[in-house]
C-alpha cells in the first residue's frame, strides 16, 4: 500500500508543477499538476477505506495493497455522484434514518467529481487550456478537503461513503 504520506507528496508535486515556470506556465506542467492533485485525493480515499477495513498497522500493509487495486475510477465517481444527489437506495435510507449528510462529506464528494473530470480533461483533451491560478485553486481545494476529513471520518455516512467507493454498483439498488 502506498504510504499515508503519498497523497501529501502528490499535493507537493502538484504545487511544484503549477509554479515551476515563474513567468508563463507551460500547459504540460499545469496538466500534470491537475492530474497529481486528482491522484492525491484518489489515493487518500483509497487509503482511508483500506485502513478502516484492514487496519493501519505496517504488518497489514500488504493486505491493504491488495485491496487498493480493487478500486476503480468510474465506480468511485458514481458513488460520489450518488452521495451528492442523494441517490441512496431505499434500504440504505431507512437504515440511516434521519442522519443528514455532513457538509464536509458533500464537499468531499463534490471535489472528487470535479477533480476527476479535471484530470480527464488535463490528460486527454488537448484542446483544453488551463490557467495557473485555476489549477492552484484546485490543489488548495484538495488540501482543504483532506484536512476536513478528520472532523467527519467517524460519521456513519462517511464510513458508508468509503464502502460505496468500492461497492456502489451493488449498493445503489439496496
Amino acid at each position: 500500500m502506498i504510504s499515508r504520506s503519498h497523497h501529501r507528496q502528490l499535493l507537493e508535486q502538484a504545487r511544484y508543477l503549477a509554479t515551476r515556470e515563474k513567468r508563463r506556465p507551460l500547459q504540460v506542467s499545469l496538466r500534470r499538476s491537475a492530474s497529481a492533485a486528482y491522484y492525491a485525493l484518489f489515493h487518500f480515499l483509497i487509503d482511508e477505506t483500506a485502513k478502516s477495513w484492514l487496519g493501519a498497522r505496517r504488518s497489514e500493509k500488504s493486505l491493504r495493497d491488495i485491496l487498493a487495486r480493487a478500486f476503480q475510477h468510474g465506480t468511485m465517481l458514481q458513488a460520489s455522484k450518488g452521495l451528492c444527489s442523494g441517490a441512496l437506495g431505499r434500504g440504505v435510507q431507512v437504515a440511516l434514518g434521519d442522519a443528514r449528510i455532513p457538509g464536509e462529506l458533500h464537499e468531499l464528494a463534490t471535489t472528487f467529481i470535479e477533480l476527476q473530470q479535471l484530470r480527464h480533461r488535463a490528460d486527454y483533451d488537448l484542446a483544453a487550456s488551463f490557467k495557473r491560478q485555476e489549477i492552484l485553486s484546485e490543489v488548495g481545494r484538495v488540501e482543504t478537503t483532506i484536512q476536513a476529513w478528520t472532523a467527519i471520518q467517524d460519521h456513519p455516512l462517511s464510513r458508508l461513503y468509503l464502502v460505496s467507493l468500492l461497492t456502489w454498483d451493488r449498493m445503489r439498488e439496496r
Binding site: 468510474g74 465517481l77 458514481q78 455522484k81 451528492c84 444527489s85 463534490t110 467529481i113 470535479e114 476527476q116 473530470q117 480527464h120 480533461r121 486527454y124 484542446a127 487550456s129 490557467k131 491560478q133 485555476e134 492552484l136 485553486s137 484546485e138 488548495g140 481545494r141 488540501e143 482543504t144
Partner: protein, 100 residues
C-alpha cells in the same frame, strides 16, 4: 435525470440574485450543457472574475463561497445535472476564445 429549462438556469445564475461576496468580484457567469467523461449529462459553468482580481483572491478558500452559492442556486431550482464550475478572469476567457 431532471433537467431544468435554460431560462430558469439563467435566472438562478443572475448575479443580482446570487448574493455573492464582494471579493473576489464575479463579473459574469457563463454556462452550457455538457457531457462529462463518464457520459453523464452535466452543466459546465464559468464564473468570470474581474481582471484585477489578485492571485491571493483566487485561492480556494476565497472562491469557495462563490462555488457554494452557485451550486446551491442550481440545486434550489431542482436541476439534477452536476455543475462543473471553473473560475477564470474575463481576460482569460477572452484569450481562450481567441485561441480556438
Amino acid at each position: 435525470m431532471r433537467t431544468v429549462d435554460p431560462d430558469k438556469i439563467n435566472e438562478a445564475l443572475d448575479l443580482d440574485r446570487l448574493n455573492l461576496p464582494a471579493r473576489p468580484r464575479v463579473r459574469r457567469i457563463v454556462w452550457h450543457d455538457y457531457r462529462d467523461w463518464a457520459g453523464d449529462e452535466a452543466l459546465r459553468i464559468w464564473a468570470l472574475l474581474d481582471d484585477r482580481t489578485p492571485d491571493r483572491d483566487r485561492a480556494w478558500k476565497r472562491i469557495h463561497p462563490i462555488d457554494r452559492a452557485i451550486r446551491k442556486a442550481i440545486d434550489d431550482i431542482g436541476e439534477e445535472r452536476f455543475p462543473y464550475i471553473t473560475f477564470w478572469t474575463q481576460a482569460e476567457w477572452r484569450q481562450s476564445k481567441r485561441s480556438r
